[in-house]
């Protein structure tokens, strides 16, 4: 019998297993003993009964003994800023692909417990995505690499410094010949300074950057359009019509956070005229789910659509007249043509407020076309500025050059700080083999991953919350990274790694950073250094937008070279970054693995997404195992039917099929896409073959039912029908006839409002909730049994009759805190009761686990601890817990509390000052994280509270109002703004 204590707790164990069966199978009884293994006579029926009786007796007696001893360890010298019991907040940042997001991190007595957005940061303005928030769990991951290693042997940092110094001497004599640095794309002024110094010392050394999700084509496009490297800075606050060409700008991914807040305001009909969004894409993305009109195209057709659109605009915009030949050249099929006509007309009509936004996967020519259109239409939403990254080319092109040099034996010393190029590089580069041939290689990494296995020296990296550094945000603002905890393991920062080759391995990153900024800003350093660190950034350092001239001739020439005909028939592969693990670097974070993909709701793996019609044509069904082949060995994938997906193509996401020894959590989850990825076509390519291999895979989707069954669950309407909808919704709010006397709730009356029109479905709130409320992760097998523990889920419903291109609505749903709560009536032990302020409280200690409450909950927001998910956490992992929230044991029910710990903290804080809690003083975790400000919480008794205003809005309705539960969470119907011409 497996001990129940060791049941699946994701991310916590060394051994990963798929299910209870596999777990229960004792390894001793495996094949070596044959099928008829003798029974283990040590455990007879009698001894089991004896143990059972003894443990029952002991458990009973255990409660009778005295409570356990506890210790108090005060500081010896208390740091003046620390008040034990009261958390502190520090501004810092984390970088993904080189660009920083400003963070505000909560620390309890020196241990970070929650990551939030820095509200003062000019680039992200307090918004934060799921990836940044989940960094917290990675800090405490016990699987992190802990010591320096050389070819599998544990070594010290000093050993490495000696080896590096010896190597550096030899290399210096050769003026740096054969010295190569493969860096994470970066924008850090400190790293730039170190690179300069390294180049001075080793003139023949070369630097290159690598990211599996590079911005190379963006920069190439700018090169084509302007003759220089530029990046687009979005300002959606003035947007009226936006066309997204495969750009996922509403997904809370790196670079989109500020755009989301601006966009949300443009989708709120009470805040002025609504903007309109068109999306052209292959796979359904978060942005596509929000689009008023969406066109599905095969991946290789998207840029042809853009060129055809430019041809249409040529007739309407004098500045684009020269592109008229494009309309002749690129003919669109009827559906696309109609779409393009309408978009072109709309873009011109909204000139000044129109924007064409292109995704990083699209070819350079399409980026150039977008620049041409945005400039010609004088778009106020798009400005171009110099890129913040050191290198504009971080893609397969530069990596191919490097691996050729490596194979030719011209690289003697290779220092890698980029994330895992062996795993992420396209298969045809064969980077892993080339790396093995480098005599002296150094790799800095958080985990013992695929690259670490092939590198000579492996240096444990410092987590961002442990390190000093700087970086530029997406708008160029200089942002500081400061540690909240001293390093848990013997890690080093990127700056320290580089300094080792300058003979300065003993200089800490802090010293280097301080000295750099002292020399950069000698006048104001002494006065402002503390302020910069406290703010987290230096204000006014954003790069200025420029207005370079568009080189129309070159764009036209490049456009005319694009093959005019439509893509060839046959299947295409479409490779996309993953919403949860990005390029795989977040793979070992269980919070993200269990976060349902915002679109497909798949957890713990990637899958081959296929449109239902294409699947039917190929004879495939949900969960079937297939082999995807493209010029190489096949990838083994399970099929997931994806409504809204383009026909005749298969989408797979990056970041799975990991094989590193040190990352047990994500090892062997999903499948690797590198065999489908080639350096000439890193994102999409024709010629895909899909072969049935037989068998079915278990896919853990958190939502398998996609219809609202005709009820009003997630209300959606159009701006034209707004008034009628308000009248219709009136039936779904207000008080119902009741025989009970109403409660008065004289003090605070807490309530929430969720604006579905603002919500983009990005799922940032889910991670915030998990981090705030100590919610355990349960593993794939348990998710498949619907036992996930998320208090907050984002439901996604498809609407309309067209399964090919349906409408999508989504709805964040957590406990709605009914005033007449069905759960409370059925609890036999009073474990769920009502507070005097209207909160539906859950008392864990009273709960005996009957689960009646969950059965009677019409919203299905209650979660049951089937197992003790947290009992085998190591001490390091326990440090991630929020000390203000109880860690629940097995056998109790739990659910959203409206972040009652935050309410109580605010209550005590304000009572100490003899005043009431002001509106906006209590933010629930989900509200705080939401980049779109879709969730509002507050006191409904306060007539000036924002939440009260929303509760009185015309669009407000109550979920399942007819049941008379009187939920405290109100929803505001989503409003779409479709183009009448396309209706």
């Amino acid at each position: 019998m497996p001990s129940l204590k060791s049941l699946p707790i994701a991310g916590q164990r060394q051994k990963v297993w798929r299910g209870l069966d596999e777990h229960a199978a004792a390894p001793a009884l495996s094949r070596e003993l044959g099928p008829e293994a003798p029974p283990d006579d040590a455990t007879s029926r009698r001894s089991v009964l004896q143990l059972l009786g003894a443990s029952a007796a002991l458990a009973t007696l255990g409660g009778c003994l005295k409570p356990p001893d506890e210790k108090i360890l005060p500081y010896t010298r208390q740091p003046p800023e620390v008040t034990p019991g009261n958390p502190l907040h520090y501004a810092t940042a984390t970088t993904i692909d080189g660009r920083a997001t400003g963070l505000l991190v909560t620390a309890n007595e020196g241990r970070p417990t929650k990551i939030e957005g820095n509200p003062d940061h000019p680039s992200s303005r307090g918004a934060v995505g799921p990836l940044e928030q989940a960094e917290l769990l990675r800090l405490y991951d016990p699987q992190r690499l802990k010591v320096v290693q050389n070819r599998g042997q544990d070594r010290s940092w000093r050993d490495f410094l000696q080896a590096a110094a010896a190597r550096a001497r030899a290399v210096r004599d050769a003026r740096g010949e054969g010295l190569r640095f493969l860096m994470e794309p970066g924008s850090s002024p400190l790293i730039a300074h170190l690179r300069q110094r390294l180049t001075d010392l080793y003139p023949r050394a070369r630097f290159s950057s690598w990211s599996a999700i590079p911005l190379q084509q963006v920069h190439d496009g700018a090169q084509l359009a302007y003759g220089g490297a530029y990046e687009t800075r979005l300002d959606l606050s003035r947007a009226r019509v936006v066309l997204s060409l495969d750009s996922d700008l509403l997904a809370a991914l790196p670079g989109t956070l500020s755009a989301m807040g601006d966009w949300a305001a443009k989708r709120d009909p009470e805040q002025g005229p609504m903007a309109r969004l068109y999306a052209v894409e292959s796979n359904l993305t978060v942005t596509g789910m929000n689009a008023d009109h969406r066109l599905r195209l095969k991946p290789t057709d998207v840029h042809r659509f853009g060129l055809a659109l430019l041809g249409r605009l040529a007739a309407q915009v004098p500045a684009l007249a020269r592109y008229a030949p494009l309309q002749q050249r690129f003919r669109l099929p009827a559906e696309s043509a109609k779409f393009a006509d309408a978009v072109a007309k709309d873009l011109v009509k909204a000139a000044g407020g129109s924007l064409v936004c292109v995704g990083a996967r699209q070819p350079p020519v399409l980026h150039a076309v977008a620049h041409a259109i945005n400039t010609a239409l004088v778009s106020a939403c798009a400005a171009v500025a110099r890129p913040v990254l050191h290198e504009t080319d971080a893609g397969p092109r530069s990596l191919r050059q490097l691996s050729e040099e490596m194979r030719a034996g011209r690289v003697g010393t290779l220092v890698i700080t980029a994330w895992n190029p062996v795993y992420g590089a396209p298969a045809d580069l064969n980077f892993g083999k080339a790396l093995s041939q480098v005599p002296f290689s150094v790799y800095r990494s958080l985990y013992l991953d695929e690259t670490a296995e092939r590198a000579g020296w492996v240096l444990p990296a410092l987590h961002p919350l442990e390190s000093w550094g700087d970086a530029r945000a997406h708008d160029g603002t200089v942002t500081f990274v400061q540690p909240l905890i001293s390093p848990l393991y013997a890690g080093v920062s990127e700056a320290e790694t580089l300094a080792a080759f300058l003979g300065e391995g003993d200089r800490t990153a802090y010293t280097q950073l301080r000295e750099l900024w002292q020399s950069q800003r000698p006048g104001e350093f002494a006065l402002n250094w503390e302020k910069w660190l406290a703010d987290g950034f230096i204000s006014g350092t954003a790069t200025r937008p420029e207005s370079p001239a568009v080189r129309h001739e070159q764009i036209l020439a490049a456009a005319m070279q694009v093959p005019a005909s439509e893509s060839a028939p046959g299947l295409e592969i479409n490779i996309v970054p993953d919403y949860r693990v990005w390029d795989g670097r977040f793979g070992n974070i269980s919070w993200l693995q269990e976060l349902p993909d915002p679109v497909t709701k798949v957890t713990w793996e990637n899958a081959a997404l296929i449109a239902p019609n294409t699947a039917k044509k190929l004879g495939l069904s949900q969960g079937e195992r297939v082999d995807l082949g493209l010029r190489g060995p096949p990838a083994h994938a399970p099929v997931v039917l994806a409504p809204g997906h383009a026909e005749d193509c298969v989408t797979v996401s990056l970041g799975y099929g990991r094989r590193g020894a040190g990352e047990a959590l994500c090892r062997d989850l999903g499948f690797d896409t590198s065999t489908l990825r080639h350096s000439d076509h890193p994102w999409f390519a024709p010629g895909l073959t899909v072969t049935r291999v037989g068998g079915r895979a278990l896919i853990a989707q958190t939502q398998e039912h996609h219809s609202m069954e005709g009820r009003l669950i997630a209300a959606s309407t159009t701006v034209a029908k707004l008034k009628e909808t308000g009248e219709e919704l009136a039936e779904h709010r207000g008080s119902l006839l009741t025989a009970y006397p109403g409660d008065s709730y004289a003090g605070y009356r807490w309530g929430m409002a969720i604006d579905l029109s603002r919500c983009t479905g990005c799922s940032s709130c889910m991670i915030a909730c998990v981090a705030e409320n100590n919610i355990p992760m349960v593993g794939k097998e348990q998710v498949a049994k619907s036992r996930e523990m998320h208090w907050l889920r984002v439901d996604r419903y498809f609407t309309g009759d067209d399964t090919g291109n349906p409408g999508v609505v989504f709805q964040p749903l957590m406990c709605v805190h009914c005033e007449y709560a069905p759960c409370e009536y059925v609890c036999p032990v009073n474990a769920t009761v009502h507070s005097d302020e209207g909160l539906n409280e859950m008392v864990y200690n009273r709960c005996v686990g009957t689960r009646y409450c969950s059965n009677n909950c019409p919203y299905k927001v209650r979660r049951f601890n089937f197992f003790s998910y947290t009992s085998d956490y190591t001490d390091t992992e326990k440090m991630a817990f929020n000390p203000d929230v109880t860690v629940r044991a097995r056998g109790v029910m739990e659910k959203c509390t409206y972040c009652v710990q935050r309410i109580e903290r605010a209550r005590i804080h304000t009572r100490l000052q003899d005043r009431r809690i002001r509106d906006g003083e209590v933010l629930t975790a989900c509200q705080q994280a939401c980049p779109a400000e879709a969730i509002v919480f507050g006191d409904l008794n306060d007539s000036n509270a924002k939440v009260r205003k929303l509760h009185e809005a015309e669009r407000r309705y109550d979920l399942l109002h007819e049941l008379g539960t009187r939920p405290r969470t109100a929803y505001l119907a989503r409003v779409m703004n479709p183009n009448p011409e396309l209706a």
């Binding site: 009778c64 001893d69 506890e70 500081y75 008040t83 034990p84 019991g85 929230v885 005590i908």
Partner: protein, 217 residues
């Protein structure tokens, strides 16, 4: 010969058996419930050994040091705070700086290693007690911690069970005192406690909060 037991004795026996079972069963439930409320289980009046023989009688009683000199977080934090070692040395740098009894304190300070105190007033981990708000609302230290100035070794003065907490949370007027008397060890209400308590409750806007989430989250 008539039988020794009448037929009705069967019934009596059954009733007795049933009553016995009921008593035993009831005892099985009631017994532990009573037991966990005994001072033996709650560890009241049970002096706790500490690594340093700190005598509150001397510091509080003789020297008259205010509670808040050492437990200085009590007005701003959930925890009253056991003082950092450096705070002990504020005085003991000058006086008794050679005393062998203070050796662990000096050792802690110079080795930068905390003194490991044994907790006296333990609350279960699902209870979120906040000192600052209680002190602010006029709950005296003595009310929960007893006459610490008379304790050679600190001991738990009150049971700290939920029922005990609720006595005050339901009727705070029975215990409230003026804010300036909170740390007084010898405060006695001038007149009727209930009258003063009601007045203070009004004056300090004390709420009688008994919702579960007031203390359990």
């Amino acid at each position: 010969m008539s039988s020794l037991f009448k037929p009705s004795s069967n019934t009596a026996f059954r009733i007795a058996l049933f009553a016995l079972a009921l008593l035993f069963g009831g005892g099985l439930i009631a017994g532990p419930m009573i037991y966990v409320r005994t001072p033996f289980y709650t560890q009241q009046q049970d002096p706790v050994d500490q690594p340093v023989q700190f005598d509150h009688r001397h510091h509080v009683g003789d020297e008259g040091i205010d509670c808040r000199y050492c437990h200085y977080l009590v007005e701003k934090s959930p925890a009253a705070g056991v003082p950092p070692t450096s705070l002990c040395l504020n005085c003991h740098e000058q006086i008794w700086n050679k005393s062998p009894k203070l050796a662990p304190v000096r050792e802690s300070y110079f080795a930068d290693r905390p003194i490991v105190w044994n907790k006296v007033n333990k609350l279960p981990h699902f209870v979120y007690f906040n000192h600052s708000i209680h002190v602010k609302q006029g709950v005296g230290c003595v009310t929960c911690h007893g006459r610490v100035d008379e304790m050679a070794q600190v001991e738990k003065a009150q049971p700290l069970t939920m029922g005990w907490c609720l006595e005050c949370h339901r009727q705070p007027e029975r215990y409230l005192r003026p804010r300036d008397q909170v740390t007084s060890m010898t405060y006695k209400p001038k007149s009727d406690q209930l009258a003063i308590g009601r007045e203070l409750k009004e004056q300090y806007h004390v709420e009688t909060r008994t919702s579960c989430t007031t203390c359990h989250r």
